[in-house]
């Protein structure tokens, strides 16, 4: 093996060819983020918000256009085998950018003049300190969330497009670090928010270590970190399974952490609760898409040859994730924690699709991610609107009778809950049907049975909220903020996509099933 490695060493320096057209979308987002930092540094405070929102949205739209035009025509492995732009990568990037655009709309919500937006004035200050008070007096705002978001988006885009475990690790960190900060920027309940941020950081670092350790073991086995090389090694090489299989599992653990699968889910409820609601929505949608994209790439491209070794374990993880998500959501009393457990359960359902290990598995997973992403961003945007004495009214009891006070908001939220449940005419139904059908075709009938039982349990949770909103008398001083065009657009888009995918799912299903071939 040493000999073969020596033979692979280049004899002279060759400049790496980078297909800039293929990576243009990512470059655009990185560039936008840089400009955002410069705006933060130099632009006067009163222009910053508008400038940042405009820049961020323009960047995302430009990236989307670049994906659809330039990158699509330049598919292939580029940057010395570090980045791969293929069908799945493109579609995952497109979905991430689209979800990010909708999520940014929710973050840009500032309500009317004297109402507070979701972000703190001074993220770096100790809560309750004179410095924070000074920042409040000054009327400071945290417009740095927008460049941070763009950095995270860029990391998310690189994550499913990395052709190399090391690049994948870098992408993982690039997407995670801004999210750690964003989680700590909630305006109200500052301590809870900062605690969430710290927890996310610590546990994220812990899981990154697993990922790196796994990558190291695999390097020991295959002599390369490139996914295609690993796939070749897995096929041609025998012995040394003692290095390979633990390596595979540790890498997968690192990815499962990002997805929020049990037993690596513990951070999810705390972080979802502490983070500002718009950030939670963006994070829940974007991270899931990116991490599942990476997971699919790793499992389908690199480790497919040893699937009989990791499949049973991932079966167990999927079942545990669905059960934990469903069962624990039953006793939640906080809306954001409830949605967090719901996200865990959904991660389990998506894993069911991933484990189908066929083309349908890829397309149905993708469909589920799109459906879940849009509904969850809209749901968290609504959570940000419902207030009680200035704070977000996240306790379930505060949502009682909302249907009487704000019929439209309650109606839309009820619709989204039905989508979470998987009722027909919502995207949730089509998505669940797609992953379950793929899993049955892939031999995962038992997984599907567990999935359906867990769906039943979660139905109770969601429908209980609908009952609470419509069949209980209003209590307390809960009120719904009047959203500006930003939130309205975000919620409308999320809801319309949920409805559209429930009624006419075939365009997206077709698109997804045309983009299921991973390049090796």
């Amino acid at each position: 093996m040493i000999a073969s490695m020596a033979g692979a060493l280049p004899t002279e320096f060759v400049m790496t060819q980078i297909s800039y057209a293929a990576v243009l979308p990512m470059l655009l987002v990185f560039g936008g983020a840089m400009i955002g930092v410069l705006i933060e540094a130099f632009a006067p405070r009163r222009f910053r918000h508008e400038a940042q929102v405009t820049l961020t949205l323009l960047t995302l739209v430009a990236a989307l256009v670049a994906i659809a035009t330039s990158a699509r025509d330049h598919q292939g492995i580029t940057a010395a085998g570090a980045v791969v732009i293929d069908g799945p990568a493109l579609i995952f990037q497109g979905v991430i950018v689209a979800l990010a655009a909708v999520g940014v709309l929710a973050m840009a919500e500032r309500f009317t003049a004297d109402e507070a937006d979701a972000f703190t004035q001074s993220g770096a200050a100790v809560p309750g300190s004179p410095r924070e008070a000074a920042a409040v007096r000054l009327g400071a705002t945290s417009t740095e969330v927008f460049p941070l978001t763009l950095f995270a988006v860029a990391g998310m885009m690189l994550f499913p497009a990395s052709a190399d475990l090391l690049v994948m690790f870098v992408a993982l960190e690039v997407l995670s670090l801004p999210l750690y900060i964003l989680s700590g920027l909630a305006r109200r309940r500052r301590l809870l928010s900062q605690e969430a941020s710290l927890k996310y950081f610590l546990l994220g670092a812990f899981s990154s270590a697993f990922f790196l350790f796994g990558a190291a073991l695999i390097y020991g086995y295959a002599g390369s970190l490139e996914l295609s090389d690993i796939a070749t090694a897995v096929q041609n090489q025998s012995g040394m399974d003692g290095l390979l299989i633990p390596g595979v599992l540790l890498v997968v653990v690192g990815l499962l952490f990002k997805v929020g699968a049990a037993p690596f889910h513990a951070w999810t409820p705390d972080v979802y609760q502490g983070a500002p609601s718009p950030v939670t929505g963006f994070m829940a949608a974007g991270t899931k898409v990116a991490a599942f994209g990476a997971l699919l790439r790793v499992l389908y491209v690199a480790f497919e040859g040893v699937r009989w070794d990791w499949m049973p374990i991932l079966w167990g993880v999927a079942i545990l994730t669905m059960v934990v998500g469903a069962v624990l959501s039953v006793t939640q009393t906080d809306m954001k924690r409830l949605l967090a457990y719901s996200s865990i359960a959904h991660a389990g359902f998506i894993l069911v699709g991933v484990l189908a290990l066929n083309q349908k598995g890829v397309s149905s997973t993708l469909f589920y991610l799109v459906a879940y992403g849009f509904m969850t961003i809209a749901a968290f945007a609504i959570v940000a609107l419902v207030r009680s004495s200035g704070n977000e009214a996240t306790h379930l009891s505060q949502w009682a009778g909302l249907g009487k006070r704000s019929p439209i908001v309650a109606g839309v939220f009820a619709f989204l809950l039905l989508a979470f449940t998987g009722i027909p005419l919502t995207s949730g139904f089509t998505a669940k049907f797609a992953v379950f059908a793929a899993a049955v075709a892939g031999g995962g009938t038992w997984l599907v049975i567990v999935g359906i039982i867990c769906s039943g349990i979660t139905a109770f949770v969601y429908i209980r909220i609908i009952v609470l909103m419509y069949f209980s008398e209003p209590a307390g001083d809960t009120m719904v903020m009047t959203p500006t065009v930003m939130s309205t657009l975000c919620i409308s888009l999320g809801t319309l996509v949920t409805l559209w995918l429930g009624i006419i799912p075939s365009p997206l299903l077709d698109l997804a099933s045309q983009s299921t071939l991973f390049l090796r």
Binding site: L198, V253, P263, F264, P269, L328, V330, T331
Partner: protein, 646 residues
């Protein structure tokens, strides 16, 4: 030889697209449907004008029907069948159902009957329902009924026919329970509804069988495919269609609802439960004649059902003291005749329809007469409280009398021409059948004469047995004119259509020739004389018992047979014992199992999940060290499992 003729006569006449006035046939449905919608949704503003609008729309449909009939008569007999495509109703891949109308002599005959008698009864209702505060709703339902009934007879496929079939069922249900504030009337509506559901299941199974076997449900397609189908399938389809027909036409064993249906206003009894809707079953069998011709077993069952019902209705009719219920029993019996004829094959189809037509006139006329009597006697229906009305209500007496003569088959009135032909046809054949079915029809004619005479004498003749403060009077013009017109029909329709051969040649393109060269086992003159003798005997017996002897105001206990007939030959008791009680016990035990077993299970499961959740929640304690430990534990378990497996 018989088979050959059957097959030859089953060839459906060529059908062409509708042109000229026929292409306006959609108006037949549109007028009454529009009326129903207008009156139902129009609100109180239409309380006054609504009934008149309904009457006019009904007549408008009648005019369209007459115009189409005239244009059809002008055409060559081979060119009298047209289809009018309305829209594509169920376009489902290879299975494509169109909403289109079939206009041929058979359907147009029904259109004329339904719209003409229907319109007359609309007019009659103007007088009859004058004092009712809910007139608008009543007329809306009447229009709805006309629209639905026309859908039944005009549709060119079984699926659309089924839609109309349900429509007439709905209208019937709504009108039986029109005075729903009286619990007995409301439950009478329910009874009709339930009995009809049984039949509807049969109908729907028949249609599903057609869909499965032939892949089509239009008459032409089903008829064309039927010759290749196995007899078993055809028999199954035939029997299921018959089940539907039995429920709708109150034939044995689904006849129990018709007596109670008399709870509806009398015009409804005349239109729906005598002249038109209840004959839909006969229409269905005749329309499906190609299927029945190829399934002799199903045909035999049709004949048996007809024979049993005609005797059953006749016997029940002898014992009823309620004027309308006696008439209802008679309706049942007369439809039994039609069913019998329809089951006899090509020799019977035309006469089934002929008797249906004449019956439509004389029975509707008599029901309207009954309504007139009730109107005069403060809604009294007990015939033992009538008597001697002939002098006071001359028009009612004469018109009812003509109907009475017609139904008994006294020459030259309508029933003589139609019913005697059925009796003759029933005597055609070989072996035991002509004797059994022929004698049933013959004896039925005698019993009919008895119970109709009983009814007529008890109502219009003999001593006045009224309650004290009654002052009978003739009905207003709006009621008497329709009665007169129908009475003219009862008297003359048979003579015009029967001996001239108009009805048989008119229907021949659809149902085939009635002339099979078959002779009854007894010669025709002998049968005619026998029938007339029996009728005379029936009248004489009724005269002896109910005119010569006085009629007691309170019904005597009567013999066992009388008591049985009064109770509809225990029909309700049998239904109750056989279906209702076991059904109730079944539902009770199901409710018990649901409450104790399933609810308990579900509740227990929910409690289990809740408990599990509450316990598992404690793991989520907020300490990052515990979370990290969970993760590490997970990794250790995974790697440990791997180590164990390998």
């Amino acid at each position: 030889m018989h088979t050959l003729i059957t097959l030859a006569s089953s060839e459906p006449a060529a059908t062409s697209a509708a042109t000229g006035v026929t292409s306006y046939a959609w108006l037949l449905l549109a007028f009454p449907l529009f009326g129903a919608a207008l009156l139902l949704f129009g609100g109180r503003v239409l309380d006054k004008a609504g009934p008149m609008i309904a009457v006019l729309l009904s007549w408008a449909a009648c005019v369209v029907g007459v115009l189409i009939a005239i244009s059809m008569m002008g055409a060559d007999p081979s060119d009298r069948s047209h289809t009018l495509h309305l829209f594509s109703w169920v376009p489902a891949g290879t299975f494509d159902v169109n909403a289109s109308l079939l206009l041929d002599p058979l359907s147009i005959t029904f259109v004329l009957l339904v719209t003409f008698v229907g319109s007359l009864i609309h007019v009659y209702s103007l007088g009859y329902m004058e004092g009712d505060s809910d007139k608008r709703r009543f007329f809306a339902y009447l229009n709805l009924f006309v629209a639905a009934m026309l859908t039944v007879v005009l549709s060119d496929n079984y699926l659309m026919l089924y839609a109309g079939w349900e429509g007439v069922g709905l209208a019937s249900y709504l009108l039986i329970g029109f005075w729903y504030h009286k619990p007995a009337y409301a439950s009478a509506g329910n009874k009709a509804f339930f009995a009809n559901r049984v039949g509807d299941v049969g109908m729907s199974i028949a249609i599903m069988l057609m869909f499965v076997e032939f892949g089509r449900t239009d008459f032409a397609g089903v008829n064309a495919a039927a010759s290749q189908a196995s007899e078993g399938i055809l028999t199954a389809i035939g029997l299921m269609l018959l089940l539907g027909a039995c429920a709708k036409s109150a034939q044995f064993p689904l006849q129990s609802w018709l007596g109670d249906a008399m709870a509806g206003p009398t015009p409804v009894s005349a239109l729906i439960h005598a002249a038109t809707m209840v004959t839909a079953g006969v229409y269905l069998v005749v329309r499906s004649h190609v299927l029945f011709d190829l399934a002799p077993t199903a045909q035999l069952v049709v004949v048996i059902v007809g024979a049993v019902t005609l005797l059953y209705g006749a016997v029940v009719g002898c014992a009823k003291d309620d004027l309308k219920k006696a008439l209802a029993a008679s309706t049942m019996s007369q439809i039994g005749y039609m069913m019998l004829a329809a089951g006899l094959g090509p020799i019977g189809y035309a006469f089934a329809i002929f008797h249906l037509l004449t019956h439509g006139f004389f029975k509707a006329g008599m029901f309207l007469g009954a309504g007139s009597v009730m109107h005069a006697m403060d809604d009294q229906v007990n015939m033992r409280r009538f008597g001697g009305l002939a002098t006071l209500m001359k028009i009612t007496w004469v018109t009812f009398g003509l109907g009475w003569l017609a139904i008994m088959g006294v020459p030259p009135f309508a029933g003589f021409w139609s019913k005697d032909k059925i009796i003759e046809a029933a005597f055609v054949g070989e072996g035991w059948r002509p004797w059994v079915f022929g004698l049933a029809a013959l004896i039925g004619a005698g019993i009919t004469a008895f119970y109709m005479s009983r009814l007529f004498f008890m109502t219009f003749h003999g001593k006045r047995r009224w309650t004290d403060d009654q002052h009978p009077h003739e009905a207003p013009l709006s009621m008497t004119v329709p009665m007169i017109i129908l009475a003219v029909g009862s008297a003359g329709l048979g003579l015009i259509l029967g001996p001239t051969g108009i009805i048989t040649s008119w229907l021949e393109p659809v149902v085939g020739s009635a002339e099979g060269g078959h002779e009854p086992v007894l010669s025709v003159p002998v049968l005619t004389v026998l029938t007339l003798l029996l009728v005379a005997a029936g009248i004489a017996l009724a005269w002896w018992r109910y005119l010569r002897e006085s009629v007691p105001v309170v019904a005597p206990v009567g013999s066992l047979a009388t008591r049985a007939a009064r109770r509809d030959l225990f029909q309700d008791d049998i239904n109750e014992g056989l279906f209702m009680r076991p059904g109730i016990h079944l539902t009770r035990s199901l409710v018990f199992a649901d409450n104790k077993g399933i609810d308990g299970g579900v509740g227990g499961l929910a409690a289990f999940v809740g408990g599990l959740s509450a316990r598992a929640r404690r793991v989520q304690n907020g300490f990052v060290r515990s979370y990290a430990l969970t993760m590490l534990g997970g990794v250790v378990v995974i790697l440990g499992a791997l180590w164990v497996v390998q």
